[in-house]
Amino acid sequence: MKKFLTLYILVFIGSLFAGRLLLNPLHFSTLSKTILLDVRLPRIIIASLAGAGLSLAGLAFQNLFRNYLAGPNIVGASSGAAFGAVLAILFFSFNPLYIQLSSFIFGIIAVTIAYKMSKLVGNGIVGLLLAGIAVSALFTSMVGMAKYMADPYDKLPTIVFWLLGSFSGMRWKDLLFLLFPISIGITGIVLLRWPFNILSLGDSEAKSLGLNVNIYRKVIIVLAALSVSSATAIGGIIGWIGLVSPHIARLLVGYDNRRLVPASAFVGATLLLFCDDIARSIAATELPISVITSLIGAPLLILILARRFKYVKN
């Protein structure tokens, strides 16, 4: 775990100096101090927390659904959060706090609906998967509807930019909003890393090994929903981090969740932070974060899967 921490700290320090304004560590002006402490530092912390939260939520769902391809959105959290944000953009003048709040609340609402509906459509985890897909589709279509109805000159660009995700303009007050829910999510998932192993064996197995599946499943869904909803509320839709980071971590530490959970948290934080550095320094204007995460994440995933395939073949 030391290696992961070291790598993260290196990227963290690098991030402080990445950006269009070059900082000279030997000559600190007031301006550079402001940029460093009030602009870059909060943004770095927010991106790290969001990355860790998304990665852990992805890992949690991969264990719960016993499927490598489960991502943070599998029970509808991101779609719900997207709809919440779009709703706030449509009906209120552009106020980040309203957007964050509405987005967070709708993320939680979407997961709650999926969970309640799951009992109607199937048993246990299969029901949840089906309900999650349906709820996700429902909110995605409502986002589409909202985009169609939005004022194309004023609201639509805001919506589109928000949906692509960005950490631009993040300040300490944004961190305050994020800190509480995502800390609960991250800490909870890290604490429950051992029972993840048991849960990933499936319901019957977990029961016979003495785990109260229903309670732990509920707790983990709540923790993951908190992480995804708050990360999405603050940064918009951020694709691929939650799916790819646990895979990278698996390559490095194996499958035992006792090591995999903390490793995934660090990989997620490092990866999203790195992507955000690129997003804010590569071009004259800020690039949306999802563009970068997909651009880096998709080839990474192929690389990882190719390596695993080779390993399986031998």
Binding site: S208, G210, Y255
Partner: protein
Amino acid sequence: MLKIKHLYFSYDKKEILKNIDLQLTGGIGCLLGPNGAGKSTLLKCIAGILNPRAGEIQLNGKDVEKLDFKERAKFVSYAPQEFSVNFPYTVFEIVLMGRNPHINILEGPKKDDVEETKKAIQTLKLAKFENIPFTSLSGGEKRLTLIARALSQNGQLMLFDEPTSFLDFRNQLIVLTVINKIAKRFKKLVLVSLHDPNLALSFCDKVFLLKEGTILKNGNTDEVITEENIDLLYSLKSRLVKLGNKRFIIPEKLL
């Protein structure tokens, strides 16, 4: 001692187990019966995976139905008929998971859990597979790993659901020999389900014939496995033969 009284189980309206009464005082007990007779369901009820509609399950006088999952898993080890892991955990990690009922959920396994796991792996002679992914093992090695997990779980009662299914001639023998050894050496109460009455004849002390969710006959193996009972159980015509001091039952024709 395992004592089951008036146990009923149903999936929705369909009754699977009807008024099961069963007593196992020691050694290896065997559930024998055709496909769909309810063997797996009964084992799952005892393991706490399924909830019976009515009835009592007692282990050494204690009502296991009233225990929570964790307490119950300390007394009852269970190895399923089919075990598929989607993630390639190593053999060591799989066997370590058997320690779960003895582990504090938030703290994870401790030193003595690791030691118990190593011991179980040694007992089953799996040390060379310790760091190999479970998914890459052969059928026989997988079975032995599951038995090691049941051993590390350390239940007084051990349930093995068709431990010989999908195994070759030799591996069937290996698995049942190992189960027999564990039962004797660690003084465990073992309940297995089997498909081959001949394996029951060589390895089990007591046999319960299960058909359509009820217990047809039960008692000592030699008394229960007779031509008459086997014919009734499987609806066929069989013949019991003696070879030296061993007895075998051979199917002759369908009825």
